[in-house]
């Protein structure tokens, strides 16, 4: 048998799914949409599977998730529905339950988070709920694995014995009359498309277009339906959707009044409200957020992260020296020696030294996220984002973009509006990803040692500012219209879990190490080879005569107006296309510098002004190939990917801005051009 697991978002559905299936899961996509599907075998019941449907609040076709869930339930005909309800938020959850009952499929309600209800002094009369709703209700706590076995037994028994909901009619008065008359009218049409007549009637009363089209009513029947609904609206003096919502919530209110003893407000919730009075204050919210982020940046780039990075750099240099001496002692061939030391160790080592900076940054960000503060930031940002045509929901993918653009672009799948999704995809690359951190770190260390944190903050702010400008431009051109309303649950504040923070940091470090020893490793060897040999594959003593210098000089004139026309700079930017960290390793190989003398090596290529111009260029130029592939995949359009590459190029003129500003300050013009 197959069961569908349905419920609101954040009600513990995934936790329950994991408890039901253990590791016996299969992940895929619902056909035709970018909505994830998960299916698993129920443990202990090998012939029974459960499908985890997306979290939804109703069965109305406003979002992809709602459409997918409804289509699945109507077309795939599961043997049973397990409706998970958050007992701490029962009224809102039962709204969906009532609609699921109308589907006339054997159903069990899993009343989750009962441990929290009990802990806060509340009680729920399960028998009363069962009697009034007409379906079995099983109290559980998915996170604590309580009641799961009983739930499985009840669900299997209900489905096996085809125990349909004993009650579907929760209404009275005008709504009741309207639904019943329409149900009789469309009964044969509904049975033809294998849809319960009552469900079809309810959807027609709501004005559900897909249902109207699916039923294929005649013009006369459509007129009769509209007339019936109009009479109902006139009698109740309200619109159809409000009438149905009122009907459902009236029933829910009476039901909860009889069967739910409200728990007192939890201490966590009361504390969260007090904290929110400050952190989401109308005037203080954004300044507080900016202050927190600046503090994090200062700690990361100015204090902790830079100290640890310098320490690691010294260790890597020491190791490099030891290996170099050992290879020399063994009589290693000079070319092989150069490959290992000047190529691999220099290139990969220069990137690895930035691990502490990245880990420290994400340590602080994960604390903010785990504590629940980031949800507030999304809420606070909603008003600002609306000015550029997006909602606060877009903030989450953008925040992920500070780590890596690729998962950020994929995270836009959570946006229900296609317009919002595309716009967010195009703007996310402006959030400077962590792969660029080694570049920023290397240049700020070399040219702005006293103001590292300030320069870093400036770059991030510049990226966001340019993103905002582009948002305004896109809003006025390609993406007219308004963003969808933003509804979000604010979880209670909580102390970050050390385990989840450590796991997150380990994931981050592992990911960085993987990239360093794969993409960067190969790129470093390729760069070393091109830099060490000429076109006849003869070893060269100076990089100036190498193949790479030839390639670099060919493209260098493009970058000359921006102040860094040196072939090494242009070559490094080219390698950044594969992975941004490769810019650092390329400089290390091209300048022959280790982490200790990198600043002086870079000084032979850049001046402080051109270095800053280079940083601005790095911030704004083409994303890496992985990000471009993600854009192509998520937008299902090669043109979009090409557009992302090219439309950003027009912004590269901003790299010239430091020169303009410097010129306005009447500084020595010789400093402006290298």
């Amino acid at each position: 048998m197959m069961f569908a697991l349905a419920g609101n978002q954040n009600c513990g559905k995934t936790t329950l799914f994991n408890q039901l299936t253990g590791s016996n899961q299969h992940v895929g996509n619902f056909p035709g949409v970018t909505v994830e599907s998960k299916e698993g075998v129920i443990r202990g019941y090998k012939e029974n599977t459960v499908v985890d449907l997306p979290g939804i609040y109703s069965l109305s076709p406003y979002t992809n998730e709602e459409i997918v869930t409804r289509d699945f339930l109507l077309k795939n005909k599961p043997d049973g529905i397990i409706n998970i309800v958050d007992a701490t938020n029962i009224e809102r959850n039962l709204y969906l339950s009532m609609q699921l009952i109308e589907l006339h499929i054997p159903m069990v309600i899993a009343l989750n988070m009962m441990d929290e209800v009990r802990a806060n002094g509340g009680t729920i009369k399960i028998d009363k709920l069962q009697e009034e709703l007409g379906v079995p209700v099983v109290p559980i706590s998915a996170s604590k694995n309580e009641g799961i076995d009983e739930l499985i037994d009840t669900a299997v028994r209900t489905a096996r014995n085809r125990q349909y909901p004993r009650r579907q009619d929760f209404c009275s008065g005008a709504v009741h009359r309207a639904i019943h008359s329409i149900a009789h009218l469309v009964e044969d049409h509904a049975e033809r498309i294998q849809t319960p007549p009552r469900f079809a009637a309810t959807k027609l009363v709501e004005g559900d277009e897909p249902m109207r089209n699916a039923l294929n009513l005649s013009e006369n029947e459509k007129d009769m339906v509209e007339h019936t609904v109009s009479e109902m609206e006139h009698e109740l003096d309200t619109d159809r959707e409000a009438a149905l919502a009122d009907m459902r919530y009236t029933f829910i209110d009476h039901l909860c009044a009889d069967s739910v003893v409200k728990c007192g407000e939890s201490k966590e919730h009361a504390r969260s409200v007090k904290i929110d009075n400050l952190l989401t204050n109308k005037y203080l919210a954004i300044p507080i957020f900016l202050l927190i982020m600046m503090t994090i940046f200062w700690l990361t780039f100015g204090v902790i992260g830079s100290f640890l990075s310098d320490l690691l750099s010294e260790g890597i240099d020491l190791l490099t020296a030891v290996v170099s001496d050992a290879l020399t002692a063994y009589g290693m061939n000079s070319v092989v020696h150069s490959l290992v030391i000047d190529g691999i160790f220099a290139g990969v080592g220069s990137v690895l030294s930035f691990i502490p900076t990245i880990v420290v940054l994400f340590f602080f960000l994960s604390i903010l996220e785990d504590s629940g503060y980031m949800a507030r930031v999304a809420f606070v940002m909603d008003k600002l984002l609306r000015k550029i045509g997006l909602s606060g929901r877009s903030f989450v993918p953008m925040l992920i973009g500070f780590g890596c653009s690729v998962p950020a672009i994929m995270a836009t799948r959570t946006l229900s509006s296609e317009r919002d999704r595309k716009m967010t995809i195009l703007l996310t690359p402006y959030m400077s990803c962590s792969a660029k951190l080694p570049i920023y770190g290397m240049f700020t260390m070399a040219f702005f040692p006293e103001n590292r944190a300030l320069v870093m903050i400036g770059l991030y702010v510049l990226g966001m500012a340019v993103g905002i400008l582009m948002g305004l431009l896109l809003k006025g051109t390609l993406f007219h219209g308004n963003p969808v309303p933003f509804v979000m649950e604010l979880p209670n504040y909580r102390l970050p879990s050390p385990k989840s923070v450590c796991m997150l940091l380990w994931d981050k470090a592992k990911d960085f190490l993987t990239r360093a020893f794969t993409v960067i490793f190969v790129a470093t060897i390729v760069i070393w080879f091109l830099q060490s040999f000429d076109t006849r594959l003869n070893p060269v003593s100076s990089g100036e005569a190498s193949m790479l210098a030839g390639i670099g000089r060919w493209i260098a004139p493009v970058f000359a107006p921006l102040g860094f026309g040196d072939w090494r700079a242009s070559t490094a930017l080219l390698t950044g296309f594969s992975a941004k960290e490769a810019v650092v390793s390329t400089f290390a190989v091209l300048t022959g510098a280790n982490t200790a003398n990198m600043p002086s090596a870079l000084a032979s290529v850049f001046s402080p002004l051109t270095a800053f111009s280079f940083l601005v260029f790095t911030l704004l130029y083409t994303p890496c190939v992985a990000a471009i592939s993600a854009v192509r995949r998520e937008m299902n359009s090669g043109k979009a990917a090409v557009g992302v590459v090219f439309y950003r190029q027009v912004l590269l003129g901003l790299s010239r801005l430091p020169f303009i500003i410097w010129g306005c300050c009447l500084c020595d013009r010789e400093d402006m051009i290298l």
Partner: protein, 53 residues
Amino acid sequence: MNGIDFAILAIIFVLVVLAVRYAWNHRNSCGGNCSGCSHSQSCQNLRDHSEKK
């Protein structure tokens, strides 16, 4: 070039092949930063499921 040189080159060659294979096998994956990704759990389950098969 002596035996040690060739041995080092062979090791580096193997590492390059492994790195290129890894990058090719993961060419359609998200590219990393699982820690910040809302789909990271799914990715892990899919990998585990594929490995079990």
